[in-house]
Structures are given as structure tokens and as C-alpha cells.
């Protein structure tokens, strides 16, 4: 079964870290987006099994990405990977419909564990 993941982060290095973790979790198709608007445009082009998004990005934020994806009626799992660790921000993301939340900095194993939760073995 082919798993397709969308990764949205304005940092190329952070995208590389997430791509590496996703591949080690068995993800075979990865699409990268450089900001929130790019993520939403790519989300509209094809179906995804999992979305990982940063919060602070140019154009549209990760919070906008979650709200707009949920606004389309999609229940695709979305993991927020962000420096925004305050309780208020986590609550905002939960209210918007995030499926899981990982605060930077993180251990590589923490990121893999979050991805593994949503990738069928």
C-alpha cells in the first residue's frame, strides 16, 4: 500500500529532517511545500494520507493550513511540528482540527513515533 505525505515548512533543512523520518517510517511518496499557500495548492491537486506542517510560515500559516483543510471537509491526519509550545497555541491548533502536535526541539525518535501513529504498517 502506497502512503503519500505532504510536508509544509519554509525551512529546507527542517523539510529534510521530516522527509528522512517519514522515509524511515515507510512513507514512499512525499510532496514538499515551502509555505502555507503552497501546501494548500498542493493539497488540492492530489489526495494525501498524512500532512505535517510548521506553524510560522510566510503567506499562510500552518494554523491556516489546518483550518482550510478541515474547511474542505477532509479528515486527513495533520501533525503540527512547531516552536509554538504555549498551551494557548496548542489549544488553538486542537480547535482548528490538528490530529497531533510536536514541539521543536525534538528527538528524532519523537518525530518518527508521531508519524508511525498515522502510517499503516
Amino acid at each position: 500500500m502506497s502512503i503519500k505525505v505532504l510536508i509544509a515548512d519554509d525551512s529546507g533543512v527542517m523539510r529534510k529532517i521530516i522527509v528522512r523520518a517519514a522515509k524511515s517510517s515507510g512513507v514512499d511518496e512525499i510532496v514538499e511545500a515551502v509555505d502555507g499557500a503552497d501546501a494548500l495548492a498542493k493539497f488540492d491537486q492530489e489526495p494525501f494520507d498524512l500532512v505535517l506542517t510548521d506553524w510560522n510560515m510566510p503567506n499562510k500559516s500552518g494554523l491556516d493550513v489546518i483550518k482550510e483543510i478541515r474547511g474542505k471537509g477532509s479528515d486527513v491526519p495533520i501533525i503540527m511540528v512547531t516552536t509554538e509550545g504555549e498551551k494557548g497555541n496548542v489549544l488553538q491548533a486542537i480547535e482548528a482540527g490538528v490530529s497531533d502536535y510536536l514541539t521543536k526541539p525534538f528527538e528524532a525518535a519523537d518525530l518518527s513515533a508521531k508519524i508511525d501513529k498515522f502510517v499503516p504498517v
Partner: protein, 158 residues
């Protein structure tokens, strides 16, 4: 500047280096200064706003920047490439973001980081801000963090 705002940045730098780079960090000095002249080769700057406003400026030794990039992506760059610039932006973002989470009462928001390459640059804080400079050494090299935060006189309501 309120010295209570400094500890979160020290703790955050230690945590970010340990978790993301697997690297031990030790603070070697601290001083109040008028303006900032980065000692090192590549500098990340990020703005904070909320009940306090200001900037965090983090300057990294070249070799540290290269080794940090290698630790994050698994291959060592030979020059200050786009990957190195991204690494410095991301480390700056994480250090400031993680520190801000420890100061929830200030309701701080992060701007997007900017990275400057080259030794001969000076960054000036607003005249009312007396930044505090922190020097660090790590297993990968030297860096310093300058924090200039000023509590806002009033906060918009509604």
C-alpha cells in the same frame, strides 16, 4: 532589560543543542552592551512582539554552523550554503521559540528569522533597549546570543 528574561534563552539554547544536535553547551559569559557587533561568521535574527518587544540575535562560528548542518541533515556542507543558512534560521527560531514558551505571561509572538552571512556587520537595537549578550561554547564551536527585550508601555485591548 529585565534580567529574568535571560534564563529562558540560556535553558533553551542548551535544550536545542542537546536535542537537535546531540551537542553539549556551556555558557561562558554575560554582559550588558549598547549595540551588537557579531564576533562570528553567520548570524540569525528574530523579532519578538507582545507584552514585550525586541530582537534575539544569535551569531555562530563558521565551523559550528557547518557541523550543526551536518548533524541535522547528515551531510557536511563545504561552505555557507543554503542548507547552512536554513540551519541557522531554524536554530534561531527554535531557541527563541522555546524560550518564549517559558514566558507565557508576555504573550510573545515570533517573527520569521533572518540570516546574515559575514563577520563585518553591526546590529543596533533601539536606543531604549539595553541588550544582554551571552557567550557560549559547545562541542561543535562557539556562539553568542544577544537578547534585547523591552516591556511594552501599553497593550491593545479588543
Amino acid at each position: 532589560m529585565n534580567a529574568d528574561y535571560i534564563n529562558p534563552f540560556i535553558e533553551s539554547a542548551v535544550s536545542v543543542f542537546e536535542m537537535m544536535l546531540g551537542c553539549q553547551v556551556k555558557r561562558t559569559g554575560a554582559k550588558v552592551c549598547e549595540s551588537f557587533a557579531p564576533q562570528f561568521d553567520i548570524t540569525g535574527i528574530i523579532g519578538l512582539s507582545g507584552r514585550a518587544t525586541g530582537d534575539v540575535v544569535i551569531s555562530f562560528e563558521r565551523e559550528l554552523a557547518l557541523l550543526a548542518t551536518e548533524a541535522l541533515i547528515g551531510e557536511k556542507p563545504t561552505d555557507l550554503s543554503a542548507d547552512v543558512i536554513d540551519t541557522i534560521g531554524e536554530l534561531t527560531n527554535m531557541i527563541a521559540g522555546n524560550a518564549k514558551a517559558s514566558m507565557e505571561e508576555l504573550e510573545l509572538k515570533l517573527a520569521l528569522p533572518t540570516v546574515i552571512v559575514g563577520k563585518n556587520h553591526t546590529i543596533r537595537f533601539p536606543s531604549k533597549v539595553r541588550p544582554i549578550a551571552l557567550a557560549f561554547e559547545s562541542d561543535m564551536g562557539y556562539f553568542n546570543i544577544e537578547v534585547g527585550l523591552m516591556e511594552s508601555a501599553c497593550v491593545e485591548v479588543g
